[in-house]
């Protein structure tokens, strides 16, 4: 029993949030810092980018939640605090300042940053922002927090679901910021998830690591793996269920709810990729193993040529075949079928690795929709995978041609 409900990170009991403008960004109309606070200390788990160049906040956060516990999350946008000589110092100081005001240990703070790499970040705006954030903390602050972490995102990304664990009603909610430099590898963009379910740090970590392999690690906007990717979950146990400490029915219910939240955020992130006009979902079936299915799905979703074709609503399925062929997966290209699907219907364009006659008119109608499924059957085994991405547009070039200056 699970349903999607209104709200985001404040949907779960005991979580409060806020987002304000503190001055990291010059534009005063844009919130640039966000806070999430749990009444009680929560189990905490996180996954991080595999980029060797890592934002300073990741190092500090990793250290802080090594004990599996956290109580607050602070995140600024507008500056990634990456490749800065004093980055660690700034991230550490942020935790200390916040902790002092909240009267919690500095090591119970998750700190994150997103924005331009290699620009000096000063502590002053953050120091000024912290009391403002705390003053604004409320059950209604989720949207403001979602806005506070946005960079070139055009819409805020939040979701919440309600589900049952051991007879107790639990909630899980999340916010995300995505847009550019998105090609996760092990971890991903910034995502903050909160839940009032009781779950041990070890099982929370297991749930998150298992889930991201099929969700955030299957999203690509532009093939660039960010330096600041991080997904964190805080679980404060205030729903009152018996703590989940092992696999079983309760864990499954939690996993299912978590997956609903993460898949939703994946689709939001992909569909709001920089400059995107379309969400692309590549579903690969008939693979011998999951790895093959994932490799093929990601290769298709990452092809610049296919992405540009989708922008033009052009059923250029040869580019799908091409991307399958260079994916590195061992597939029998003569057994591949490809269809395009959207709210307007489905059309088969390739059977057994060769083109079939199809109506260009119908294909155009299907591809003019905002959400496109690219269905690939490898014609071999029983394994499948899904990857999400977006089209490549003029606006991607525009946004990234002068993002920094």
């Amino acid at each position: 029993m699970m349903k999607i409900i209104d709200g985001g990170i404040c949907a779960a009991k005991g979580f409060y949030a806020s987002g304000v403008h503190c001055g990291v960004r010059k534009n005063r109309t844009k919130r640039d810092i966000a806070l999430i606070y749990s009444e009680k200390t929560a189990s905490a788990a996180a996954v991080y980018t595999t980029n060797l160049v890592k934002g300073a906040p990741l190092t500090v956060t990793k250290n802080n939640i090594a004990d599996g516990k956290a109580q607050a999350v602070i995140c600024n946008s507008g500056n990634a605090n990456t490749c800065n000589a004093n980055g660690i110092e700034i991230a550490q100081k942020t935790c200390e300042l916040l902790a002092a005001e909240l009267k919690i240990p500095a090591t119970d703070v998750v700190v994150a940053s997103t924005g331009v790499i290699g620009q000096p970040l000063s502590i002053e705006p953050i120091e000024k922002g912290i009391p403002m954030l705390i003053k604004e903390l409320s059950k209604d602050g989720g949207e403001a927090a979602a806005e506070g972490i946005m960079t070139t995102d055009t819409v805020k990304k939040e979701i919440a679901v309600e589900f049952t664990v051991g007879g107790k009603t639990c909630r899980i909610g999340g916010i995300a910021k995505g847009s550019g430099m998105i090609h996760p590898n092990m971890a991903t963009m910034l995502v903050f998830i909160t839940t009032d379910a009781a779950i041990s740090p070890a099982m929370l970590k297991k749930a998150l690591s298992t889930d991201i392999a099929d969700t955030f690690n299957m999203v690509s906007v532009d093939g660039d793996t960010s330096t600041n990717d991080m997904v964190t979950v805080l679980a404060n146990g205030m729903a009152g269920n018996d703590e989940i400490t092992a696999e079983g029915e309760d864990f499954d219910a939690f996993m299912k709810a978590l997956n609903t939240v993460t898949v939703y955020l994946c689709r939001m992130i992909a569909g709001d990729g920089e400059g995107a006009t379309k969400l692309l979902e590549c579903r690969v079936s008939g693979a011998d193993d999951i790895k093959t299915a994932k490799t093929v799905a990601k290769s298709v979703i990452c092809s610049s040529l296919l992405k540009a074709a989708m922008f033009g609503a052009d059923a250029n399925w040869g580019r799908v075949l091409c991307a399958i062929g260079y994916s590195g997966a061992a597939v029998d290209v003569n057994a591949v079928d490809v269809s395009f699907k959207s709210a307007k219907g489905e059309i088969a364009v390739c059977k057994n690795g060769a083109g079939v006659d199809f109506s260009e008119e119908k294909a155009k109608e299907i591809l003019l929709e905002k959400e496109i499924e690219i269905l690939v059957s490898l014609g071999n085994g029983d394994c499948s995978a899904t990857a999400w991405g977006c089209d490549l547009t003029y606006d991607y070039v525009k946004i990234n041609g002068d993002y920094r200056t």
Copy 2:
């Protein structure tokens, strides 16, 4: 002693070429088929794409030059003859028709195609084109052939050099078509090279395989490895040098001349990438080994974000660091230096993995040039590598948003 001379594939003795419109393309003003012919049977070597989806002509060519010999090259543009049910038959028939007219064995023909994948290709226009091609064959036909193989290329790509082997003057020339779906892996785009140097098939193969590892395999336009990539060299021995049958001074002279031709064509291909306004050259030094240097150089040149920044003449060096970090190479990111260089000068933007103060004005002036060098020092060993690419522009999106229809 080597010098660049006028001309292309007809610069070497005994080679003739032509290019005409035969009707594979509807546009009558665009040459769509090219022929290269050698008076004498030549040593032949080729490398091919590693994409599992391969154009039918590649299979036929591979078979034809298994004996290390060829005498003619025929290539159409406008249709890749890939993912077609009768592709092999068409490619085979093309060889037979040409061979019959030229009175050479069909197995001495190299056949190639480039264009849209998965569109039926009929033999009729090719059958009609062959006598026209033969009629037009001449020492002045190199440019027409270079045009005949172009797809979205905006300029024809040819070069020739003159050098000495064992006291004899030799020439080597080449033409290429590049533009899109360019991210070579083992082999690359279409490149046809001719030489009158005498060299055994085995040594020709060795020369080509060695050379492409540092040249065509270090070019990327859009990260998509084509289904039809092929580089071939024909060496007819008419320069009269003692046949090169082993390594040594003569082989070195040949390699050097070949490398001059291939590097020139690489730069032409990268600089004329689809929609490109700039040629990007990433030179990585200070690596522990060649593989690391190559991995880093290619990762930088492939970053969509950096490519877009270069289009905007934005010195966003954080994207260079980011691409180094996710390249997969084991580098000490705190030892990395980055500079941008062009005809307008050189500017250091990052030292030891962190930003340095630099004049944005000067950086802009440097990056507004047409040829940009991205200099990366890894601060470790003595190995270096160079990769070539181009910026990501509105026109790339435009060209690929409706290439097919």
